[in-house]
Symmetry: C2
């Protein structure tokens, strides 16, 4: 059972009575019925790539793990309706490839796409790099098939853009992290495959200019703007230290950088022209200091690699204290300035690794120890630093979990920052749909 009990980052190993590996939704229903009859808790598990201890059992050993990995069929593909119907255990990359094979795009894209399953993406309402244009996993799902906590199979596999017939059960199961039922299948939205995507790295003086650039790029490019990522110079220096083979395009250093991606349904020329005009505007308006535009797919990938190597460089430097937070986009610059000041006042010299999907208001705001302090030792300050950062997030009406969910890891944080009114509604819904409390206990609530 070992591979099913330890979380993705290797931080926690739970115990289980057994690992159940059903082959289809009916078997899932039968297993849930059996567990309900015997009051045995279930921990649904997909690709197990989650970061908040949502899909591994606790240490009690009283639960069974319900792996959805064998439910891995692409059930149907409808290019005219632009939908794909899949089993919950399908790997995200498999779905992307199936869509591409018929000239369509399934836009959900994230670092774990080769391992994560769509059931897990749905259960955590995963984000990723394409949210700015296409939305979170929630917005990409039209219908669900779910085994309820009573072991009934609910066929909500609607392939419809409009359906106003009663309560939105679909969105209740999405993001519920397996605590209300087990997602066994889904109907997902597909989009036309863009003809071209082109990327630029834009040097700016401070996070505030990133907001000006975002407004400008959205006004000029509309839905063609498909990526907008902020990275501090410290992030790129960290990448340079640990991945010196990656080309860093600017000779002089700048304080901050925006990775900007445009996609065109028309042509590469159209995308390049629009991108160059937008950047020229930004420079003329003193928003941007400098920019490089990728002139080939390889160059675009190289720019994205800089962004994607930030967490890898951090991992190479040692463990650090991570926050996956969301804010109103307009508060991003103020948030960074005031939170940096608060953290540095409490921990002078500590290193702030701040980057993220700024177009969505989503920052990965990570804190590493001062140079010379051992990373492991610094983790002792995790709770105190979480308090500073999350209190700051709350003061801007932000979210303490933008795209990773709550799981077991952030359960106590959730209690601290949600109102009783909201927690009580969540508890009432949990009790209504899972009265025995057997679905993924100890997660979220």
């Amino acid at each position: 059972m070992a591979p099913f009990l330890t979380d993705w980052r290797g931080r926690f190993t739970g115990r289980a009575l057994a690992v159940l590996r059903p082959a289809d939704p009916d078997q899932v229903a039968q297993l849930v019925q059996a567990c309900a009859a015997h009051r045995v808790p279930l921990v649904p598990q997909g690709g197990k790539t989650g970061l908040v201890l949502g899909s591994v059992p606790d240490a009690s050993g009283s639960a069974v793990v319900l792996s959805l990995a064998r439910l891995n069929r692409v059930r149907a593909l409808d290019p005219v309706n632009r939908t794909i119907t899949v089993d919950a255990g399908c790997i995200l990359q498999t779905i992307q490839e199936a869509a591409a094979a018929v000239g369509c795009l399934f836009p959900l894209s994230l670092a774990a796409e080769g391992n994560c399953s769509i059931g897990g993406n749905l259960s955590t309402n995963a984000g990723g790099t394409a949210v700015l244009r296409y939305g979170n996993t929630r917005e990409l799902c039209l219908g669900l098939e779910v085994v309820t906590a009573q072991g009934e199979l609910w066929n909500g596999l609607r392939a419809l853009r409009k359906d106003n017939t009663g309560y939105d059960l679909r969105d209740l199961f999405i993001g519920a992290e397996g605590t209300l039922g087990v997602i066994t299948g889904a109907v997902l939205r597909l989009f036309p495959q863009p003809k071209a995507s082109i990327t630029a790295l834009v040097a700016i003086a401070a996070p505030r200019q990133a907001l000006d650039l975002l407004t400008l790029a959205q006004d000029r490019c509309g839905a063609s703007l498909t990526g907008f990522e902020l990275m501090s110079d410290f992030c790129l220096r960290l990448v340079g230290t640990h991945f010196p083979s990656l080309t860093q395009p600017f000779v002089t250093r700048h304080a901050q950088y925006v990775l900007l991606e445009l996609s065109s349904s028309e042509s590469e020329e159209h995308a390049v022209g629009l991108l160059e005009e937008t950047i020229a505007d930004a420079i003329a308006q003193d928003i941007a200091d400098d920019a490089v535009v990728a002139t080939s797919v390889a160059q675009s990938l190289a720019l994205w690699q800089l962004r994607e190597h930030i967490p890898l460089a951090q991992a190479a430097a040692g463990k650090n204290i991570k926050h996956d937070i969301a804010l109103p986009v307009s508060c991003i610059a103020d948030f960074i300035a005031s939170t940096d000041a608060r953290v540095l006042a409490a921990y002078p010299g500590c290193q702030l690794v701040c980057f993220g999907h700024v177009g969505d208001g989503n920052l990965h705001y990570n804190v590493a120890p001062p140079p010379g302090t051992a990373h492991e030792d610094f983790l002792a300050h995790q709770d105190a630093i979480n308090r500073i950062v999350h209190d700051s997030v709350a003061s801007y009406a932000g979210s303490i979990s933008a795209e990773h969910g709550i799981g077991a890891l952030k359960r106590d944080e959730l209690k601290r920052y949600k109102t009783d009114v909201e927690l009580n509604m969540m508890r009432a819904i949990k009790a209504a749909l899972d009265p025995l409390g057997i679905m993924n206990p100890g997660k979220i609530l």
Copy 2:
């Protein structure tokens, strides 16, 4: 109390103990507390433009009407975050205008926009003409303020693109038609205002060509495709009969027409060029037979007027039997052919008025009597014709209410077409959040 008791179409007049007109969310909370203490049912009411008897009280006279009309402030506008925060009683058009004043677009648009309130739009998850590009009201809402059935004020007014902290209460209240709580405020998404929109009317041989044209236009135009409406020749003839002053652009008649709208964030030239290329492609591929492209805003409006006068022409012709249905887009042509055949077999000579938002799979499939039969007499067949049409919808896994909701009008139809598994989950949620059953009783469930 009379103006608060009769529905928009004048089909039903209920009774009430009183009409309550609170001025702010706290007063709403106090009133709900009082009603809960005395077990008095509440019927939340906005602009009262709904079509399914969702916002008027029943005939018993045991309920109070809770009008949100005095909650009509625009609370905040954040152009950088592209959000607007509004009271539930704000008229939709007021919100559109407030957004436009800062160069932004609030895309929700529907016939009743001058009268309907955003609280009602949210409570019915309203659709309209911009769903293809921007989604339903659900997709346009980031956060809600709700008075619960216990009279507590829930502040869920998040202005965030990403927030994965527990169950999606927001989407549970959206579309719940006031049966779970009272929406008092909302944070809505804004978009960049397109630089230009341009419209064409494309003549095609049959609904199947509309699907080919949709695929072609989406592939070529991506998110620039903002409207895609199908109208039969019968619809345009009806408009011609009742509104002879409206110009009909084609000299020869064609079987079907698609109204196609493109928007560009760049320029009018860009939109026109893209539209002309798309239509040229469609004609070259024998998808389209003919087309007219509007060369001015006035011409675009004139084309949209043809579409918008179809329901008015129907009303002028007399009462008919209406269906607001959704299907997988790929099934639209088969659905129309097979349903037409079934209806005509049962009622020879009856007239089928079929048009709608085909890009969303949403048809208004209406049935008028054979020429010479009185419209009022034909309404006697309403239940039997509903059965034929809705059974056909169900056979294609469609929805019997695409954008109007359930209210009291379609409650029995809902019971017929939903599974017990789904109805029981809905009942469990209703009981969990409104255990006294005082929130808009008799609607949906």
